[in-house]
Assembly symmetry: C2
């Protein structure tokens, strides 16, 4: 249906359009790439490509521009992910290795991605739902006031204040703390409710109100509210991308956590690269942008996702390479710490 040369033409159009930002015509195409045929031939090929919906003309007497469908074909069949240079890899490695806690890892990652791709970077905090409990701490911080701290194996620390509404003895707290740790150490967060279902019955009657309160806060903060935190960076790169019209829509979309979540996407292939092009995106205001995302995590278990967002007219091979590389290194850092 599409012979090799037509595919080559499509590839050339995408590459040229990405680098020049201007509709590309048959003549400039043969000038820049040595396709070995004349402009007229290319024109015939282009007519076919247009008929099939891979390219389009902004107006009659202009060159061609890839459509979303064209980019899709390009990404799926005509391009290979471009590995980073050794220098870039070293830079990533040392930059991330200097992070000293989870917040810092994430914030460095987002800056790194934005700089590397010169686009908007989006990084999701390591999810709680796929983490396990490393330690639970219960600390009195004032009369009738406790602090509950949960540390996960992904380095995330979750804390919540608890009002007890009655004085609580230090022994009761110590007892409960020991009990919680015994039950939860190494436990997947998703299994916490089951592991603690019978907790109230396991404590002396006098401590039951306390246990109940702590339990409800614990479940609420870890399970129900699995508020997936996301941060973005490099928004200034949007201005460079002259999306002009829709810039405002894009900025608005980027401020909504929910939209961002959906953007990064429930990965079909959890740890593989996902590319969403233009209208494939789930959000209205992002019809002219593409998202390149992937999962990352300690070891091979993906615990969260990260990616970049840019104009559909982006350098897909390079972007994909950068996203993949950053995800790998972050994974290593998380596994190591």
């Amino acid at each position: 249906m599409l012979d090799d040369r037509k595919l080559a033409v499509l590839r050339a159009i995408v590459e040229d359009y990405v680098s020049t930002h201007e509709p590309v015509g048959s003549k400039t195409l043969v000038d820049r790439h040595n396709l070995g045929v004349s402009p007229a031939t290319i024109r015939n090929d282009m007519a076919v490509l247009e008929e099939q919906g891979y390219i389009a003309q902004p107006h009659t007497s202009a060159g061609r521009v890839p459509t979303d469908k064209g980019y899709r074909l390009f990404v799926d069949r005509l391009s290979t992910i471009k590995p980073l240079s050794a220098a870039e890899r070293r830079a990533i490695e040392t930059f991330l290795a200097n992070a000293y806690d989870l917040d810092d890892v994430v914030s460095r990652t987002v800056r790194l991605l934005a700089q590397l791709t010169r686009q908007v970077a989006v990084v999701q905090y390591p999810s709680l739902t796929r983490s396990s409990v490393r330690h639970v701490e219960l600390v009195p911080i004032a009369a009738q006031r406790l602090l509950l701290v949960v540390i996960t194996n992904t380095g995330r620390v979750e804390q919540r204040a608890i009002e007890t509404h009655e004085d609580v003895s230090d022994e009761a707290i110590a007892h409960l703390r020991a009990l919680l740790n015994a039950r939860l150490d190494g436990c997947w967060l998703t299994d916490v409710p089951d592991a603690l279902a019978d907790l109230p019955e396991q404590v002396p009657v006098g401590e039951r109100p306390l246990a109940a309160t702590v339990l409800s806060v614990l479940l609420e903060s870890l399970v129900e509210k699995h508020e997936e935190k996301i941060i973005i960076g490099g928004a200034a790169n949007l201005a460079r991308a002259d999306l002009s019209q829709s810039l405002r829509d894009v900025l608005e979309a980027l401020e909504e956590q929910v939209v961002l979540m959906r953007l990064l996407g429930e990965a079909e292939n959890p740890s593989g690269l996902t590319v969403r092009i233009g209208t494939e995106n789930p959000h209205e205001g992002l019809r002219t942008t593409s998202v390149v995302a992937t999962g990352y995590g300690a070891g091979d278990q993906a615990v969260a996702r990260l990616g970049v967002l840019g104009p559909t007219r982006m350098d897909y091979p390079g972007t994909m390479g950068a996203v993949r590389a950053v995800a790998r290194y972050v994974g290593q850092i998380l596994a190591g710490s």
Copy 2:
């Protein structure tokens, strides 16, 4: 030097320009405000105002536009802060009251400010340097690994992992924890170094390496690294403000923590409103924007700052009212929790 009517004219120019976004001429001015004199008179006044640098013409045959100096005079002498409506105040109150931890308070505040002013909101996390210690906790989370948690009176929780490089007994930890709490409870963070100067000598010889390690981490995380965290919101409002040219510069500036810090400013009058207009800003890319900021904190002690950033052509009275009101309510929430 400037009589009452000239001031009235300046005020009218500022108000009209802010609401219409267009240079204002002498005729439209007398039409809209009843100044009781003819356009020709106004023109004479305008000529004087222009000579003194309060207004300017974009080009010869256009109306006048306030200069930074003009806005400055307007803010200082010609306007009064506009209080919020009762409905708005109620909305703020309930919205903030539903926050359940410090992160949530801050994130709600930033959204609130952005929505209320329809500009970019900037909120600094309650600073550590002006807080006092409420509780210190030391928790073993693995062999040779401790977690140090410090809770401050502003609700901020700071945590750091500590590598001990040797096994440590539970008694040693408990001892150190008790000692730290005894020494630091209620202590201003800035006084922590003094309060702990002689710590190593106060513990048994066997525990000194541990004490030294913990001490260094503690000092580092609380004092030296007083990394002032800042979050922003409502960036989409920038697109509405058609700063066109400089939009990219502004977005870039907003991504640099350091710039943001300087923006919020070392307040001359710590808890009062600060207004920085156009070129008064310390940053290159923000020549066409103004910043309205104020301190906030639990009680009357300002612990951090918040504010908004928008085009110099902004509604100063309204913005100042909103910023002041939000700062007050946040202060109340912090004091109450």
